[in-house]
């Protein structure tokens, strides 16, 4: 069965420092991987995706993520964190079979950026 793990419930980083939010996945075949962000009382907002090609993908708000097939990881990164990046981040994967885009989510990581 496909699954996604985000090993950290919370990540704390100082403003201006680089940040990493970790994600590992378990899926047969080639995964499609996504990162979403959720601000308080809002829905999930798409940040970026990996489909194929370059292992480093760039997304919204200066975020990027690195796909590592051997480590089955898709960590979210940003070179310089902003206080406004503080939010809940979800990693997700779609199945390798079937036509629907059913998303399987990790449990989420709260990012706290302190001034």
């Amino acid at each position: 069965a496909q699954s996604v793990a985000q090993p950290e419930d919370q990540v704390n980083v100082a403003e201006g420092n680089p940040l990493t939010v970790k994600c590992t996945y378990s899926v047969s075949g080639n995964p499609y991987l996504f990162w979403y962000v959720q601000y308080p009382n809002r829905g999930l907002q798409f940040l970026l995706k990996y489909i194929t090609g370059d292992n480093l993908v760039k997304g919204s708000y200066g975020f990027e993520a690195e796909f590592n097939k051997s480590q089955t990881s898709f960590h979210l990164k940003k070179p310089s964190a902003l206080v406004s990046d503080s939010a809940l981040y979800f990693c997700a994967v779609t199945r390798t079979s079937g036509n629907t885009g059913k998303l399987i989510f990790g449990q989420g990581t709260t990012l706290q950026v302190k001034p």
Partner: protein
């Protein structure tokens, strides 16, 4: 930018009552989804819908649940006889195509509280 809109933002219902959650997907999108998030838990897939029929549903989506697209704009989730454990945040999402690489766009959710 077009958005997915959900109403109401908060619904309080007595156990055993029927509830209908409403969603207006982005107008040119063809694929529609419902997810739920119980407090403190993962976002879970409920159902996907295309061409006026369910294309996939999870084991959570039992006979108490139904979805409908009653007109060209609304997409509804009905729970016939609510239980306490149905209390959760319900998110509607839509995507332009069924390609698993298409990002889904989420509404801000309906918080359902069952008393």
């Amino acid at each position: 930018e077009p958005e997915v809109t959900q109403t109401p933002s908060h619904q309080v219902t007595q156990m055993g009552q029927e509830v209908i959650l409403r969603c207006v997907p982005i107008s040119n999108h063809l694929y529609f989804y419902w997810y739920r998030q119980i407090l403190g838990q993962k976002v879970e897939f409920l159902v996907s819908f295309y061409n006026n029929e369910i294309s996939e549903k999870s084991e959570i989506f039992d006979d108490q649940f139904s979805v409908e697209r009653p007109d060209g704009s609304n997409f509804t989730l009905k729970i016939r006889s609510t239980k306490l454990e149905d209390s959760a945040m319900y998110f509607c999402a839509s995507s332009e195509g069924s390609d698993r690489g298409q990002p889904q766009h989420f509404g801000d959710g309906t918080r359902l509280s069952i008393l």
